[in-house]
Symmetry: C2
Subunit: 230 residues, 2 copies
DNA sequence: AGAGAGAATTAGACGAGTCTAATGCAAAAG
DNA sequence: CTTTTGCATTAGACTCGTCTAATTCTCTCT
């Protein structure tokens, strides 16, 4: 059996592998999980003993297929829970993350199945992130780009908004920026800010670190990917 | 912050206080939680340090008011979860206990409130056990008696069926014995078995240890207590 | 009152997960 | 090709929850 902690490490490594170039450095894991580097070292050693990661000393780690499956399992739990809390219990979009971060480690497979059924086997969570399927097949995280990477005039649709500070999420939600929102880049200011115009005509200005967290795709991509049911 | 383990100890002490005469002996706690006596000793010492139990060395422990409040809090979580899993996720009556036993320690107060609201602030769980209210006021556990304590001819209503082995629960459920079932004691056999006749006319025979787990009340009591909405 | 039985506690250990302080390695800079 | 610098790892410690073995207490029985 894996502990909740081990699951969190695996999930973090999964995410970090996709954000940068594998292998994932110990210090990066430590930072993500808010522990000291020696703590991360001793944890990745345990993970290695269980063949959940491959490790090159002084370099970093990569998930093995088994490790990736565990990560996908936890991510499936997390995203199903976020969806459930939002859709069935009326949680605000910004409140669900913390709750899911804990419960993901404690629900049974039975609970997972029943929640998935109750939600009609959803493909994406309320942030717009894809939910791994029952078989835990690899998911495509990459059919979207950061809002920050587009120039003035770009016509885009919000694919998802990354998990972060809940005040930020609430702010964006209130401003009308949620998965599915269509917008046009109005101005890319040289001071590290981008202004977008929403469908309804309102404009919203966002500092770069926020624009980085907003994943978008062009309407054509959306059609090609068949993810329009968001 | 209290650990899941501490919560389980407090819940166990709460239950044992009502089953026998306080103070609750260390060995009883150890048995209930399936740990060795020294483990229970060291845990109750910690609980004492935090003023959650009062302890007389070599005698046993009693919950302090704070300890009782924690126990009621955990019991509220447990019973709300059992109700929720049964009513909203379609769990079978016999499957919910294990899941609730874990989740009770990990849901937030927000989750508790929202589940209670979704269920319309239920007063009893699917076993027929009372759910402590939001204020965690003491609950009356004792307005029912064991089926085993009644003689032939007694006309009774099942108040609740105690948490136990899930095969037993399934068996009783299939036999038609659930909270609210009306029955008459048909025969009390000298070999440690009691036979009851249900409303529909079917008879069911039960060994004493099962008849002990079934709490009943006379129809008059039911009216007096106003608990008929089970 | 004294002895013995039975229960509770103390002693000492261990794994998990974490920390701080000390040390070691490797890649970049000279 | 050597030095520096910055991670990574090792060493050693601590808490939590648990165990086994040894000891001590309490209560009942003679
Ligand atoms: Mn988590
Ligand atoms: Mn699962
Ligand atoms: Mn529990
Ligand atoms: Mn609560």
């Amino acid at each position: 059996m894996l502990s909740a902690k081990m699951e969190d490490y695996l999930k973090a490594i999964y995410r970090l592998e996709r954000e940068g170039e594998p292998p994932v450095a110990t210090s990066t894991i430590a930072e993500t999980l808010e522990v000291t580097p020696p703590t991360a070292t001793s944890m990745v050693e345990k993970l290695e003993d269980r063949d959940l990661v491959e490790r090159e000393k002084y370099k970093g780690v990569t998930l093995t297929p088994e490790g990736e499956t565990v990560a996908l399992e936890v991510i499936r739990h997390h995203r199903l829970l976020e969806t459930f809390l939002t859709e069935e219990l009326g949680y605000d979009w910004s409140e669900v993350h913390e709750e899911a971060e804990i419960l993901e480690h404690h629900i049974s497979e039975e609970f997972e199945r029943r929640v998935a059924a109750a939600l009609d086997e959803p493909a994406v969570d309320p942030h717009g992130d894809p939910i791994p399927n029952d078989e835990l097949e690899p998911i495509d995280d990459h059919s979207a780009s950061a809002l920050a990477d587009h120039g003035e005039g770009a016509r885009l649709e919000v694919a998802r908004v990354r998990d972060r500070d809940s005040e930020e999420l609430t702010y964006l939600d209130d401003a009308g920026i949620t998965p599915g929102t269509k917008l046009v880049v109005e101005e890319v200011a040289p001071i590290g800010m981008v202004t977008v115009r929403l469908d309804g005509g309102e404009t919203v200005s966002l500092p770069d670190h926020i624009a980085d967290a907003i994943q978008v795709r062009t309407p054509e991509d959306a059609v090609a990917d068949g993810v329009s049911e968001v």
